[in-house]
């Protein structure tokens, strides 16, 4: 039944309604084996709902999905043997020790007895908890908890791993090392579907899907998504009066979007040369001094904001 060449998972026109509210609206995509697939979107966009349907925790209202070659609606038991899931909320037993948590999940996932000790050592090493195996989980710091949760989700070497905002509430260094782990796993052939709202993390993914209000609004390799947006020209602008600049430029023809970015502004224009001239003129009229103005490559965040704004203009 399980094909090794087909996509690791595939969904077609997946819909989930909660009463009148459509949480997921005809979403389709494929994820290849060994891919790190990023699922991007603001809170409440429907990311977690898609993942929960793929894990068999929710039944789709309509549409079709397959994980590891098994139909989501027909064979959820088979799917559960082949996946690891790490939910948004930390969900290990915090009154049990590190080792007891690993042992429990190892047995629940029916890891063969002969492999259990070896898998446990692997998880402990991976999470950097070899010296803390008897510590009660409650007492671990955030980053360690996160890695232990990941460890428990991969103790049975699942083919596909679902990570729902795995790094929320974890410090940047711990986030970094967490992503190193994700890369290691992907190199080992595991397929990873990860949701996040950290833009820098999105850039680590092989491919991205952008979901907004239940709809898929963009899908592709991060570089390509950025290139698509480059039809819009982006300027980094620093001036003596940030708010005054925003007000002056907002209604200007040729300026698509002005957004605060760090100490300056990101200004989106439809034509680079004309845009620069225009901004010089307008700011001179308002007696605002330009400290710095230069064209830049859009970041993932620009792509994200740009796409969502375009979407909102289409369907206000």
């Amino acid at each position: 039944m399980t094909s090794t060449n087909g996509p690791a998972l595939e969904i077609r026109d997946l819909v989930k309604k909660f009463g009148d509210f459509t949480a997921v609206d005809h979403v389709s995509f494929q994820v290849a084996q060994g891919e790190i697939f990023g699922f991007l979107g603001p809170n409440g966009a429907g990311k977690s709902t898609v993942i929960r349907m793929l894990c068999g925790l929710l039944t789709p209202t309509s549409g079709w999905g397959a994980v590891a070659g098994f139909d989501v609606a027909k064979h959820p038991e088979e799917i559960r043997k082949n996946i690891g899931y790490m939910s948004q909320k930390f969900s290990l037993y915090d009154d049990l020790s590190v080792e007891q948590n690993i042992d429990f999940f190892s047995r629940i996932y029916s890891v063969p007895k002969a492999l259990r000790a070896e898998r446990k050592e692997y998880v402990l090493r991976m999470a950097g908890l070899t010296d803390r195996r008897t510590t009660v989980t409650r007492l671990l710091a955030g980053g360690w908890k996160q890695r232990l949760a990941l460890g428990c989700a991969i103790v049975h070497s699942p083919r596909i791993l679902f990570l729902d905002e795995p790094t929320s509430g974890v410090d940047p260094i711990a986030r970094r090392s967490f992503w190193d782990l994700i890369y290691q796993l992907a190199e080992g052939g595991q397929t990873i579907l990860v949701t996040t709202h950290y833009m820098d993390e999105a850039e680590y993914c092989h491919r991205l899907a952008l979901i907004y209000r239940g709809k898929l609004i963009a899908l592709g390799v991060p570089e390509q998504l950025k290139r698509d947006l480059s039809s819009h020209k982006l300027l980094q602008l620093e001036t003596s009066d940030l708010l005054g600049t925003m007000r002056a430029l907002e209604s200007e023809p040729g300026v698509l979007d002005v957004a605060v970015f760090g100490a300056g502004l990101h200004v989106n224009v439809d034509d680079l040369a004309a845009g620069i001239d225009r901004i010089r003129q307008v700011l001179a009229q308002h007696k605002i001094q330009i400290k710095r103005m230069e064209p830049i490559q859009p970041s993932m965040e620009d792509v994200f904001v740009g796409l969502i704004e375009a979407e909102e203009q289409k369907n206000p």
């Binding site: 929960r52 894990c55 068999g56 925790l57 929710l58 039944t59 038991e77 559960r80 043997k81 996946i83 899931y85 939910s87 909320k89 930390f90 969900s91 290990l92 037993y93 915090d94 009154d95 049990l96 007891q100 042992d103 429990f104 999940f105 047995r107 629940i108 996932y109 029916s110 679902f162």
Partner: protein, 377 residues
């Protein structure tokens, strides 16, 4: 069903129980505490009734009657009145429950064969106690009057007169008619239903609150395995609790244990499994610990204490209520525990009750398993 996964659930759950020392202490002390509290408080015996006597006759017969009352364990003479007002005051202030007035010509009437009236004044606000007290005092007065009269007649006849009927009572199973013997076995049954359901009522709801249920549902573990694993962990606690309760019954209250220990153990296991499944079902329905606890308490406490026949005889209830008692598992377990304790009866008479408890346990297990299988909201 995989035995290995059930064992994993069982061991995990048992670790939770051991780690949570406060709950563990409560789980073990609760039965002890309840047994002592309810056992002493729920005393249905009426004895040492506070009594006040107004003896207007002041004769040998009246004094002999008072001595008789004094000697009975059912009455305790609180004082002697010299008028009605004293008795009235005593009853109003709840100092006495019973007033006995012996009229001026009591002795004369008694010996002349006329009606010898004695007035009894009772505080009827607790009608149950009052009617029991009335029957005691009536019995005592009748008995005494009869004795005095037959003694007089015997004197006249010069030979003993044999009463036409001489009833010799022999009470079985609870020969001293002590209510503790009746209450304590029933208490063990009713109480264990509540304790068992409350013990498991938090277990699934806690997993929902902690988010671990979502994690569990994403793994290959099946709903039935979760239910069985959790139940068996609490089963150990439940057996210890029942043992404590039975020992308190036998050694603290001195309730006779006439039946078979194995029969009690067997029926307890079947009963407990049902009660634990009930707690798990309630927990899965409620999904929050607070609601689950309340639901567990309401669905077990009232039925087990009021509708099980533990305190109130089912035959005296209105027919619709009697019908309802048939689905209260504690009803059957009360009958079983009382039967084993007091009558020493076994499976040959109790198989019907045991069968019901087994069926209850199985059905509730199925319901809990179905509920658990349901996905996220």
């Amino acid at each position: 069903m995989s035995i290995r996964r059930i064992r994993a659930m069982f061991e995990k759950e048992f670790r939770h129980i051991l780690r949570d020392s406060r709950s563990l202490i409560m789980a073990l002390f609760l039965p002890l505490f309840q047994m002592l509290l309810f056992g002493y408080a729920l005393n249905l015996d009426v004895d040492r009734i506070p009594t006040m006597i107004y003896d207007a006759d002041q004769s040998t017969d009246s004094r002999a009657l008072i001595a008789r009352i004094h000697g009975s364990r059912f009455f305790e003479i609180q004082g002697y009145a010299t008028n009605y007002a004293d008795i009235e005051k005593g009853i109003d202030r709840s100092k006495v429950l019973l007033g006995i007035v012996i009229p001026r010509n009591y002795s004369q009437h008694l010996n002349s064969g006329a009606r010898a009236n004695v007035q009894i004044l009772l505080d009827g606000s607790d009608s149950n106690t009052a009617s029991i007290a009335l029957s005691y005092v009536e019995g005592l007065l009748q008995n005494y009057a009869l004795q005095v009269r037959s003694a007089g007649q015997e004197r006249l006849a010069g030979m003993p007169i044999v009463a036409p009927v001489d009833a010799r009572l022999r009470v079985w199973y609870n020969s001293t008619l002590q209510s503790t013997n009746y209450i304590v076995p029933g208490l063990i049954a009713a109480m264990m239903m509540v304790i068992a359901a409350l013990l498991t009522s938090l277990t699934v709801a806690r997993e929902w609150e902690m988010g671990t249920m979502e994690q569990l549902l994403s793994t290959p573990v099946r709903a039935g395995e979760i239910v069985l694993g959790k139940m068996s962990a609490f089963f150990v606690v439940g057996l210890v609790d029942t043992t404590i309760a039975v020992l308190v019954g036998i050694f603290v209250y001195g309730v006779p244990f006439r039946g078979n220990v194995l029969m009690l153990a067997f029926s307890t296991m079947i009963f407990l499994s049902g009660a634990f499944f009930w707690g798990i079902l309630v927990s899965a329905l409620a999904r929050t610990q607070l609601f689950a606890f309340q639901l567990g308490l309401v669905t077990t406490f009232l039925p087990s204490f009021l509708l099980s026949g533990f305190l109130y005889a089912i035959e005296n209830m209105p027919v619709p209520i009697q019908v309802i008692t048939h689905v209260v598992p504690a009803r059957y377990f009360v009958t079983i525990v009382r039967g084993i304790f007091l009558k020493g009866i076994g499976m040959s008479l109790l198989w019907g009750q045991v069968l019901f408890l087994a069926a209850f346990s199985f059905l509730v297990f199925l319901a809990a398993e179905r509920r658990m299988r349901q996905k996220l909201a």
